[in-house]
Symmetry: C2
Subunit: 305 residues, 2 copies
């Protein structure tokens, strides 16, 4: 990205989302790659349906901007960002399945199992998850092998049984046995927090940051993850379905415990202010360079969709 | 393994299966690992149910013996073998789901979605798939980063949209539109062939084999993959459910096209002889050292379960 003409945060955000979208479209071509036998047409179409959906691409943005903090940018970083988005998209496809959250719509479009069928949706999710590791490990991603291995290790831990997938399991269990506050915090840290934390951590890994810097970015990622979930829970209470692009009021209807349900809207707004202040403090040592990431923290905390 | 006392093929096979099973049990402990937040009890139990099921562990065995051809053995190789088995087990859990092959039993035990529920089975599969990459990338797997990256890349290509997952999609489509012979060959090369080919290729990668050696092992893996599928199709026609440990006669009942259905049992037996001869020829340059792998080819081709 050209630094000579400063872009507004929104422009920067949408521009990078478009770059991620374009790269994902290339990676999800129907042409088989070296080592692959063939790419079945319907399965690729289902993967594209689930991944090329005009999402906000928040996680890739956090990764790209975190890496830029350490002067790392270019095609390889974009590829890691796209890999991360593959993991996020796989999780949405599987979460939407009838056996899970049973959602028919996502971003105003039929979910993958509605547009195709359940079996195809399961396989499309599996294939996007697998593709994520393929992309990072690929020769075309020009990063040192040691960096790739660190990224793959951290990503797998963030996404697997001890992270996102485990969090979804806890979320499903929470429909039967209401979790207490500590359990909700843990559930959310796993289900949505882990991948957002990884996004920021990955920037530090790619940028060969010092241990202290990496810890700052990880803590920043945790704050953003908390803010993201709180804002989401708030929106479920306060916003209209039209604006958010998915059904709202679902948590309350499902009797789902959220921190907003425990402590109320005002408390949540104060927490968000606190998290934004914390994010600013964590990145203070980086000075002006961290401006975009701090704006991202505000965007995540105060977004209306 | 101690080379001073030569073991029978069967002993060697079962001994290594036991080692893989033990390592999988350790890897699927409920204790969270570095970078993980918590491991939900039920999800770990479902993963264990799907992975610690006394399977033959053929793919790990092929990987271990292929690596041994290049004098590579030890804990790191065993870990890669266990990672490969995680991928195989994830695919069985997802294939058994109601939306896919809808199987209630596997190896005489309830399938994961029967023992738990569908959502948990989906997440257990997702988590085993993710864990496979975690294991290979982990610091505890003491291999050079360049080797790990090659392994992860080849494994992801073998398992994803252009390999195993794509093959399962083609298999599901084959229930609606009957595939021709060429399509069956491609489907099987993807669905079962790709992972078996990877097992042999991985041994060459870990053992830093020359390009020519790696090609021989890859071709050997392809021959084993073909033999495995042909033997499976034969067993579906000729064996009893009791012996195979799963329902037989299913392919014919489903009107599923197999090469055995096209060409008959005698043709299939001759093909298997040809594949075993081909396997022997491919490994001839390795001399006596390749004895176990050649025995494995015979076992795969002529097995009765």
């Amino acid at each position: 990205m050209d630094h000579s003409t400063p872009l507004s945060f929104e422009t920067r955000f949408f521009l990078q989302a478009a770059q991620v979208e374009q790269l994902l479209a290339e990676l999800l071509s129907s042409r088989p790659r070296e080592g692959e036998i063939a790419r079945p047409e319907t399965l690729i179409a289902a993967m594209r349906h689930g991944a090329l959906n005009g999402g906000k691409r928040l996680r890739p943005f956090l990764l790209l901007e975190s890496a830029r903090l350490f002067d790392a940018e270019g095609p390889a970083v974009l590829r890691v960002a796209a890999a991360l988005e593959c993991i996020h998209c796989y999780s949405l496809i599987h979460d939407d399945l009838p056996a899970m959250d049973d959602d028919d719509l996502r971003r105003g479009q039929p979910t993958v199992h509605k547009a195709f069928d359940e079996a195809t949706a399961i396989l499309a999710g599996d294939s996007l998850l697998t593709l994520a590791f393929d992309i990072i490990a690929s020769d075309e991603t020009e990063l040192p092998a040691t960096v790739k291995v660190q990224l793959i290790s951290a990503l797998a831990r963030a996404a697997g049984v001890g992270g996102m997938a485990g969090g979804q399991a806890l979320d499903l269990a929470a429909e039967k046995v209401k979790p207490d506050e500590a359990e909700i915090v843990q559930l959310q840290a796993m289900k949505t927090g882990a991948l957002i934390r990884f996004a920021c951590q990955a920037g530090a890994i790619i940028g060969s940051a010092t241990d202290a810097e990496r810890e700052s970015l990880t803590a920043f990622g945790e704050a953003i993850g908390l803010a993201f979930q709180l804002a989401d829970d708030l929106l479920d209470v306060t916003a209209s379905a039209e604006k958010v692009g998915k059904a709202t009021g679902k948590d309350a209807a499902a009797g789902k415990g959220t921190l907003v349900a425990f402590h109320g809207v005002e408390w949540a707004r104060q927490q968000l202010n606190g998290l934004v202040a914390q994010a600013e403090e964590l990145l203070a040592p980086f000075g002006e360079k961290a401006g975009v990431l701090i704006e991202t923290a505000r965007f995540v905390a105060y977004r209306e969709y």
